[in-house]
Symmetry: C2
Subunit: 318 residues, 2 copies
């Protein structure tokens, strides 16, 4: 990241016609954009949302409220423009891509075997990595995959400890019996794959999912290409959590767009030292929370670029 | 408000392609719009921001970090398009009006006399009332008036108790000595005008300001005309607090856009049982927080109107 660009923003913020610091996080958002775009005056000409979809063997354990065929049906709904993320991307003036990852081939049921072997994991990471172009000014990643709060909770538990119960919520809305099955499956998976626990990437392969691996890869690519990332909810947060484990600054280019209503998300953001912009009780996934925050970033930049200074406006200072 | 319209929204939300309730507050926002617009399918074709400006005699007590001439200078900055609210209104696709209220005639210093007599108070309320047109779909009110967090804190203390210290913050950024003067001035005003304490309107006249009175009047007009209101920060909240005191449902058509960094605002929203949409450490006024939330409301409505139902999209339900 560019310290110089972030400092240029902070300097300009201090001469604009407002009490210093009075735009709160809108000021630090612009400095964050500048730092990771490497531009003294950031821009938001091209904003993109990429939704990755994956299919999960763990659904065999009865962990989700919806049948696993819904993943393919929702991908068709994205293509037809009927999902929440289509509306949110349009109003945010963001381009939406949907990338299905071998939906006809479920990952392994991690209570029985690794979700992915090394080659499968790297293939998904690579698809994510290659999905990010260099000319993007801000990016959001989203996910669709019936059952995927289960691998997300498993990764969170594996990386940050405390057992399945601490990280497991109702996802799309499982009942009490389903929640019990979900917790039991995760604890079983954690016990089966303890040998992978010390390596965040091996853990993400053994307990994760293809769309999570792709989001990991895409977030890494964004860092290398100078593209700031708005982070969506629980599944996306778990997907990038290995980056936080691999390097203390691994998620410095990532801003948490929101904290979701999924039980483990608040704890997970705290474990990664991320402070969410929004807290609206959302729990949909698809990148919906991240996409909703795009306008906050646009608004912050609009103030930064468009406001007059005290000198320009002839306004008296303190 | 229309129960029928709110129910129509809730019914449609339940058939859209998402787990029920998973858009969180985006769902209840649409029901709120429907209820107060009185439309089964709400619209946001015309969104407006009105900033009222007033001049305060209490500035003689040294309660603000900025000289009182800044009020007039900032009104000129609004006209020239150089303030934060200009940028925020533009990106929210909202029309911006600025209404200065007798800026060459300060209110009375409430440590010495009432801020306004009855006629002056009603004139300001009336200006606000008449500023709201019938064809508006959503409205934000903002304020500019050097010194005006002092009358705001005085009104909050007068209506909800606890003394000046509980409600007084640094406004645009007074130093420790200024904060002490501010608290002392408010306690002096509360003691001087105890006879008005039982009547929220008399209190607002004795301790308030013209822009606060106008926001009170405009918020009342919005209720009568079926225009939902996004509430800005501490000063706007204090301005409408008499409505909460006059009737338990007096602010039902008002949604708190944000909680500001001004010390008393969180307590004040709690006292009025309002739950803010945003919490971004802003403390600028001008309607900036309210305006920033317009896009959240637009996004909520866009999902509601644009999403496919389970049946339309051929997606399996639970």
């Amino acid at each position: 990241g560019s310290d110089g660009a972030a400092q240029a923003v902070a300097h300009r913020q201090d001469i604009l016609t407002k009490p210093q610091g009075s735009l709160g996080r809108l000021e630090t958002i612009v400095a964050w954009l500048a730092r990771w775009q490497g531009r003294d005056m950031p821009k938001l000409d091209k904003v993109k949302v990429i939704v990755f979809a994956g299919s999960h063997g763990i659904t065999a354990q009865g962990v989700s409220a919806y049948p696993s065929e819904v993943t393919v049906q929702m991908v068709a709904n994205f293509a037809a423009g009927g999902a929440a993320i289509n509306q949110l991307a349009r109003i945010a003036n963001a381009e939406l891509d949907v990338i299905p990852l071998e939906l006809d081939r479920q990952t392994g049921d991690f209570t029985q075997e690794p979700a992915m072997n090394e080659a499968e994991f790297l293939a998904a990471v690579s698809t994510g990595y290659e999905s990010v172009g260099k000319d993007i000014d801000l990016i959001c990643f989203g996910e669709m995959g019936i059952g995927n709060t289960t691998p997300a909770a498993a990764i969170a538990a594996g990386l940050f400890g405390g057992g399945a119960e601490r990280w497991t919520g109702r996802g799309t809305g499982v009942d009490d019996a389903g929640l019990k099955r979900k917790i039991a499956a995760i604890d079983k998976g954690l016990a089966r794959h303890t040998a992978q626990a010390a390596d965040p990437l091996k853990l993400a392969a053994a307990l994760g999912g293809r769309e999570l691996a792709a989001i990991f890869g895409a977030t890494l690519a964004a860092r290398h290409l100078g593209v700031p990332v708005l982070l969506d909810g629980f599944v996306c947060s778990a997907a990038v959590a290995p980056l936080a484990r691999l390097h203390p600054q691994g998620l410095a280019h990532v801003l948490a767009a929101h904290v979701s209503a999924e039980a483990g998300h608040r704890n997970l953001l705290e474990a990664m030292e991320l402070s969410p912009l929004l807290d609206l009780g959302m729990r949909l996934g698809e990148g919906s929370g991240a996409c909703l925050a795009i306008n906050l970033v646009r608004s912050a930049l609009e103030c930064h670029t468009g406001m007059a200074s005290f000198a320009e406006a002839g306004v008296s200072e303190k």
